[in-house]
């Protein structure tokens, strides 16, 4: 990285002496065989390009670009080779980690009769996933239905939380008075396990299903409020100054400046919310029953089908992982900094 800076300075500051820029790419290309020198070539030509874009009028830069586009085909190949190498390097450690986990599991299973090993579990899983969407009445449904109804509860509870939490966050972020008013309330309620709210939900809604959704609402709402509020507070003063000198109306300020600036924070809030919601739903369903992955785990425990419990653990983990990845992808798509 330091090489970049050194060359960049030489390129810009010493522009009256074009030899410095014109020579270095050639001399570096003479020994293209070693890794280091290819790196230098790319750096120097990148700087030359950069300078040319900036100041295409000056003749010094015109000269420096003229000497640049040689041997780029070779560089292209080494780049691909390096990328494959890096990809393999990235893949090996996680795969190794998973292997160790399965190995440990097999070891424990060998020494403990009640826990099925990887192979037995795999066989049970193939049977289970042969027909994930069967339905024999409310208490006997395929694993696919169970996962989907859990996801539905998370979706509905989270949806309500977003509907309430995002506007709340905007208000808290924008008005210090309201913020300070709600601060003690939020500090008091946030550490409470959402499951503690389950009886209240049962009491109010009289049915298990909305009560489970209610716990999801409670656990999702805090990250939504807090992250949105933080995002609003951190909108750079520069952007607000732009809004002021342009004299934008309040609705334009919200839609064109506040909302896009807060969006990355909001997406972080959504990710945290859904993450916790997925943790909580399993526990809530164990308590409320019905259809859902948490209930299914409990049911299989009652049936003493331990391999199904292990499968459920994997399914819960994989679904949670996919949710997280999807939301990270979404966040990356909408974050203006990394774009």
């Amino acid at each position: 990285m330091s090489a970049v800076i050194v060359f960049k300075n030489a390129g810009v500051g010493m522009a009256p002496a074009p030899e410095t820029l014109a020579e270095s790419p050639l001399s570096a290309q003479a020994e293209v065989s070693t890794e280091v020198s290819t790196e230098v070539t790319t750096v120097v030509s990148a700087v030359a390009e950069d300078a040319a874009v900036k100041e295409s009028q000056t003749s010094t830069d015109a000269k420096s670009t003229a000497s640049q586009p040689q041997g780029s085909g070779k560089r292209w190949w080494t780049n691909i080779g390096r990328r494959v190498y890096v990809m393999l390097g990235n893949l090996v450690p996680p795969l190794l980690g998973l292997c160790i986990m399965v190995g440990l599991w097999a070891f424990v299973a060998l020494n403990n009769d009640s826990i099925p090993g990887p192979i037995a579990t795999w066989e049970a899983a193939t049977k289970l996933f042969a027909d994930p969407f069967y339905s024999n009445g409310p208490n006997d449904q395929g694993i696919g239905w169970n996962v989907l109804s859990s996801l539905q509860r998370v979706g509905v509870g989270f949806g309500f939380a977003a509907l309430v939490g995002i506007p709340m966050g905007f208000i808290l972020g924008r008005f210090t008075f309201v913020n300070r008013m709600f601060e003690p309330v939020i500090s008091l309620l946030r550490p409470v396990s959402p499951l503690a709210w389950l009886p209240i939900g049962l009491l109010v809604f009289k049915r298990a299903d909305p009560a489970a959704t209610w716990t999801i609402f409670i656990c999702s709402i805090w990250p939504m409020i807090l992250n949105t509020a933080q995002g609003v507070q951190r909108v750079p003063q520069d952007y607000l100054n732009v809004a002021r000198v342009l004299g934008l109306s309040e609705d334009k300020i919200i839609t064109r400046i506040l909302f896009p600036a807060v969006l990355p924070y909001m997406l972080t809030g959504i990710r945290l919310s859904i993450g916790t919601a997925w943790l909580v739903i399993v526990a809530a369903e164990m308590l409320t029953g019905g259809v859902g992955i948490g209930f299914w785990v409990w049911d299989e425990w009652n049936n003493l089908k331990v391999e199904h419990i292990l499968i459920a653990i994997f399914v819960i983990g994989i679904v949670g992982f996919l949710l997280e990845q999807f939301l990270l992808l979404l966040a990356r798509r909408f974050s203006y900094e990394s774009r």
Partner: protein, 283 residues
């Protein structure tokens, strides 16, 4: 006023402007005190300055003397604690579209393209009166003026610092302001880019006959661009020390001026003020 008659009778022109036309901006005995944790901090005192139509005025002074504070007062981003500022004989009570601002750090909104950034300003000023096609044309004309038409659909992070500053200037000009306020617009750029942007600004100002107030700490930039250079004393309680009227013909060519004795004299005057009379005591 065209640039040609400025170059012919520049001295007469300056005095003539002052006697015949009314100032756009009047700064009358303005003071600015900030409340800080260590008590009150007097940043500016007794600032009196008239800015006339078509004039380019630069504010120069050591860092921290209150140049930005004064510019923000004219922009209406802050209000003075004493005295009054007038724009077209009306008190400045807040920002207004007749006073466009170019920020030092360009302040383009990163989630909009260059076109979108300029459009935001154009919409605000002309959106009620004009059709969409006319607004589009305005945006394109503004980008074209600073030679950024090719980057209309690019996002700010996709273009260089100098280009961003160009778009910032386009955004300000697109509002057709009465007066253009710039706070060290080229401060963050390298020397070559800065020079080409200075030349561009000079030609755009000449083309539009715009009035401009610009903060700078670069003496050459001040002499090259200004009709008057306002030199500020050191803070705290900074005020205007001296004002130099720059009677150099326009259009100004930096290469020719480099050998011009008058250019050297103006430069020397400003240097004298900054480094003899107002030498900053470095702790």
């Amino acid at each position: 006023m065209s640039s040609s008659d400025m170059s012919q009778t520049n001295l007469d022109h300056q005095t003539e402007v002052k006697s015949s036309t009314k100032p756009i901006v009047k700064v009358e005995q303005v003071g600015q005190t900030f409340k800080t944790r260590q008590g009150n901090f007097v940043a500016l005192r007794d600032i009196a300055l008239d800015i006339y139509p078509g004039e380019v005025v630069t504010l120069i002074g050591h860092s921290g003397c209150g140049k930005s504070t004064l510019l923000n007062l004219i922009a209406g981003l802050t209000l003075p604690t004493s005295g009054v500022l007038l724009c077209d004989n009306r008190e400045i009570a807040g920002p207004g579209p007749e006073r466009a601002v170019v920020f030092q750090n360009h302040s383009l909104l990163p989630w909009m393209t260059c076109f979108g950034n300029v459009m935001l300003a154009v919409e605000r000023v002309f959106g009620r009166k004009e059709r969409k096609s006319k607004l589009d044309a305005r945006v394109h004309a503004a980008l074209d003026m600073v030679h950024m038409a090719h980057a209309a659909e690019k996002y700010p992070h996709e273009i260089s610092g100098g280009m961003k500053q160009r778009v910032g200037i386009a955004r300000a000009f697109a509002m057709e302001p009465r007066i253009l306020l710039m706070d060290e617009p080229f401060g963050a750029l390298d020397a070559l880019t800065r020079a080409s942007l200075q030349d561009e600004l000079n030609s755009v100002l000449a083309k539009t006959g715009a009035t401009a107030v610009m903060v700078t700490h670069d003496v050459d930039e001040a002499v090259l661009l200004s009709d008057r250079i306002v030199m500020m004393t050191n803070g705290p309680a900074a005020t205007i020390g001296e004002i130099v009227t720059v009677d150099l013909p326009r259009p100004r060519d930096r290469v020719e001026l480099a050998n011009d004795s008058r250019f050297a004299e103006y430069r020397a005057t400003v240097f004298e003020f900054l480094y003899r009379k107002q030498l900053k005591k470095v702790a």
